[in-house]
Symmetry: C2
Subunit: 335 residues, 2 copies
């Protein structure tokens, strides 16, 4: 029995599962709710509650700027935060391929603990399954999250209104290009790191300045273009972007050119789109720029009445082109 | 492009993901919260809230008595219910292997919808990832769940007290043997079906008769023996069972003998263990027997002070043997 590897028995529900949970998980993620090890965590809640889930299948599991564990915490924290919720409780479920190095799992759990600490959330319930070699790819993680929405907020993808301003919190495509570069063994002059980060702090600062924000969304899979298309569809409005104002790191832009990708379709894991009344945009923008995760924020376009459901983009030469939803799969397993 | 199969692009976050979600998922599982398709579902909550998660990796994905979709709903409904919670909202996250038949996914979603309807829960948020052929095994499902605990209940694995009675709600090992038989191509004279079922209705009936129930737990992976060991450890009590009183279907007992398994270590997906003051046991037992999912309920033992953390079992010949926690992995991917 190789004690450095995950075995099928770690997922049996028996002794080794118990040891794995008590030794590795409860120790690193310790909190009173988790430590009870009941079939469900129990806490008090009140008022508008947000609930979300995401599975993470990113390949490779370690990448510049993070790993699958950090991603699994940040992604779910961000999905709650963009609804205006203050994230509180996360569940954590592993599907592990037999043979994974226990040291890799430990490093992932350490990142989960660090990201949860930064975001101020607790991992309160979980599950571990192990499947035979070749039946998964190292490790898949699911997190679900619960958060509470303060009174007076009404944020939804369906709330964009004509003349609203569209802001992004920083450069587009960093996460996707960091993953692609690692996966394909590409080398850039300037290393590209994933932007993977918990955005609840940034969002709290934004809502302090303007509780009237209409829409927030994190442009993950499918990138900015796909997310804006979803919003345009949900709100039945048009969205017009100004290409020159969209922040893209030179290294990311260069990599996209080399790979034949458009950075507006490449995934981000630490960025948000915010849509709000135009008059509120300057105050929100300066609050965002004052936060480390929002320093490259920019107003990139506006909501319009014509062409409901459609996103268009004005090129530097003044032409207007349609920015459609992504149709194929350019970057599988990016998150 | 083969339109009968799941493609990588179904997990891209782009057009095909959008179509898959709106056509297959939202249509079958439709409810106002899910239909908003925001990054998180938002609902009102109040008071003691239970939150749990499980991933399902069962192989085969279709089996006598159910499939992975039904299992994913029932398992999470049951984990909430055994805490005394009334299950309300579920998340649903798929990890799909490229090439899965869309018709199989449709059948799984139909079962999810049916099980959710029976349990009275709504699927309110979800996620779909697709990984390349050979990087997962057909489909893995994660559900997380939220439920609300009525005032006055205090149910936990840590609450077993000496002299409490131990009841199980029916025959042991049905689910595990149904899966094994299907997987290994075994034939029995009497077909064994999985007991997979949502138990919130049964549990509501039990709590009506006796809100003082100390512990409830569903004996899934690791079976009755492992679950009772966990309870004995959490509550720091001994548990003594009477082997003759533990219900086991003859076909399951026979299969276990042939396969060299002990039914007390084989997984169940539609059974509960309940531990309560001895004086309440007869009333709870008759409430259980009156429910279709509890008709074979039986008092199988009692909680004792000596040997805290240990489970022992009295054999038909009067000998007392230790019933340890499962140590290896007898039945991988049983749930």
């Amino acid at each position: 029995m190789d004690k450095t590897k995950i075995l099928l028995a770690h997922g049996s529900g028996g002794r080794l599962t118990h040891d794995l949970i008590t030794k590795h998980l409860v120790q690193s993620l310790s909190n009173p709710l988790l430590n009870k090890l009941d079939d469900a965590a129990v806490f008090e809640s009140k008022g508008k509650t947000a609930f979300t889930t995401d599975s993470y299948v990113v390949n490779p599991i370690f990448f510049p700027g993070g790993n699958i564990g950090k991603l699994a915490v940040c992604g779910t924290v961000n999905d709650l935060s963009v609804m205006g919720a203050i994230p509180k409780y996360l569940s954590l479920a592993f599907i592990i391929e037999e043979g994974l190095d226990i040291s890799a799992l430990e490093e992932i759990i350490k990142s989960i603990a660090a990201a949860a600490k930064e975001a101020g959330v607790e991992i309160v319930t979980g599950d571990t399954k192990v499947v035979n070699t070749g039946k998964a790819d190292k490790i898949f993680i699911n997190t679900a999250g619960v958060g509470f929405i303060p009174e007076g907020l009404d944020i939804s993808g369906a709330n964009a209104r004509p003349d609203d301003a569209v802001i992004v919190s920083g450069t587009m495509g960093d996460h996707g290009i960091a993953i692609m570069a690692q996966r394909e063994g590409l080398n850039f002059k300037t290393a590209v790191e994933s932007d993977c980060a918990p955005l609840n702090g940034l969002i709290t600062d934004m809502l302090k300045v303007c509780p009237r924000i209409h829409v927030m969304r994190d442009p993950t899979r499918g990138g900015l273009a796909t997310t804006l298309n979803e919003i345009a569809g949900q709100s039945q409005v048009g969205i017009e972007l100004n290409e020159e104002s969209i922040p893209v790191k030179p290294a990311v832009g260069g990599a996209c050119e080399a790979l034949g990708l458009d950075p507006l379709y490449v995934a981000n894991e630490g960025k948000i789109i915010a849509i709000m009344p135009e008059k509120d945009a300057p105050a929100v923008l300066s609050a965002m720029k004052a936060h480390p995760y929002g320093k490259d924020s920019a107003i990139i376009g506006r909501v319009i009445s014509p062409n409901p459901g459609r996103v268009s983009i004005r090129t530097p030469l003044g032409a207007l082109r349609i920015l459609d939803m992504q149709s194929g799969e350019l970057l599988p397993r990016i998150c």
